[in-house]
Amino acid sequence: MTQASLGESVVQKTIHATQAQNNGVAASATQTQPLWLLAEVTYRCPLHCAFCYNPTDYDKHTQNELTTEQWIQALRDARKLGAIQLGISGGEPLLRDDIEEIVVEAKKLGYYSNLITSGVGLTEKRIQAFKDGGLDHIQLSMHDITEEINNFITNTKTFELKKKVAAMIKGHGYPMVLNVVIHRYNIGHMKEILEMADALGAEYIELANTQYYGWSLVNRSQLMPTKEQVDEAERITNEFREKSGSKMKIFFVVPDYFSDRPKKCMNGWGEVFMIVTANGDVLPCHSARVLPNMQFPNVKDTDLGWSWKDSPAFNKYRGDSWMKEPCRTCSEKENDLGGCRCQSFLLTGDAEAADPVCSKSPHHHLIEQAILDSRNPAIAAQPIVFRNDKNSKKIIAGELNDRVDEFHALP
């Protein structure tokens, strides 16, 4: 699935409305609640998207997935902690045959539930069961208006299927929520993508510029558009908003590499967002497992309330007392909380360093170099490493080290 969709804009949207706050103390002493629960129910996926944020070593986590009963228990426990928005994601969640049961339980518990899917595996029978079971909405990933780019970037022939699934979603009275990850190969089609979404009757479309984690970090030089392309895409989006008269809500997730301040990642570590992964790890963000010397709790052996409120991992980067310079004394630190800990570690080797996206970071040159590399024809011409089991096994075995050795952990 797409990281940007839940990692940034959604969290920001929540926060504007809820004003969740934390003054740098443990959640047990604050009102902090995991309002958003993301259930990454499987890492198996029929698509092989080059921009996937999932861990590159996901192949280790495809044999030890939680059972239906364990998921249901996790849903109950998270609800008690205040979780209310539920994302059922992956991988491709529809590869599990118990999503129907999970949906029914989510409804019973009062969640607003969202199935985040590529559409592969969605049948009339299943969508009817989801509707009957009380699933609130379905977020469908779309890739491009052209069959060529859709099939290329996902490394599958799924273009026709996407259109069919979009019609199925609409036909069952669901709101049409589209997510399009933006990269070099589709950024030139922004107007056409927006027109397509409008023609499909989309209520919401998220234009999520690729963020570089997992597979997309490995493929960063191959995926990154130019600053000029991003500016043009934003201009077209704004123009469409103003002129089209469309009721479609458009979210444009700005790519952090081209801004001079970092994103307030997840709206703060352990603030409003909790992920339970396919194997039961409980994380404050999608890629937290890249961080060194961290022991993340697992629903198989610890209570979810303890994980959220009291576990050392969830308290480690709450608030700002962990900060180093230049963040510690920065007048803007409350705006972004020093950015993303995973990005800092992956790129600088120090999770507590300022996010190198920040122009005040002593490591900002790493971002500038990455932008230059993406414009270097020799580097950009390296083949894309598609997200699939074979490549995951290769990365685990160290066979693709030339593509990952500049990073301080396996993305």
């Binding site: 804009s9 959604v10 949207k13 929540t14 409305a17 809820t18 004003q19 609640q33 309002l35 008690k80 902690l81 205040g82 209310i84 928005q85 009062g110 607003y112 969202n114 609130d136 909405h137 977020q139 669901y174 709101p175 929520v177 209520e203 919401y204 998220e206 809500k249 979210f251």
Partner: protein, 94 residues
């Protein structure tokens, strides 16, 4: 913008795909919708709670005035909440 002027005889209801519910964990009403949620503070929740697709704006104002007789200038706040909810597309006119 005549369309957005709240009239006494108008009837509003929650917009499609939006859900309104009491959240015990937060001791407040919330509106849930795809990709987001809004926590409603006291008075705002009381207004949305009354939008059943039948009550007119006038009915809602009268009901709230009766329920909260000590609240001053309540009508202005209620209309303000209608305007906000409409501009955010949380509600729609019946």
């Amino acid at each position: 913008m005549m369309d957005n002027q709240i009239q006494n005889e108008d009837i509003y209801t929650l917009a499609p795909h939006h859900r309104f519910q009491w959240e015990e964990a937060q001791s407040s009403y919330v509106i849930l919708f795809p990709e987001g949620m809004v926590k409603l503070h006291g008075g705002a929740g009381e207004v949305i709670k009354r939008l059943d697709g039948k009550a007119t704006v006038g009915d809602v104002v009268a009901d709230l005035k009766a329920t909260f007789p000590d609240a001053e200038n309540i009508e202005k706040d209620i209309i303000g909440m209608y305007e906000l909810a409409l501009s955010k597309t949380w509600i729609r006119k019946v």
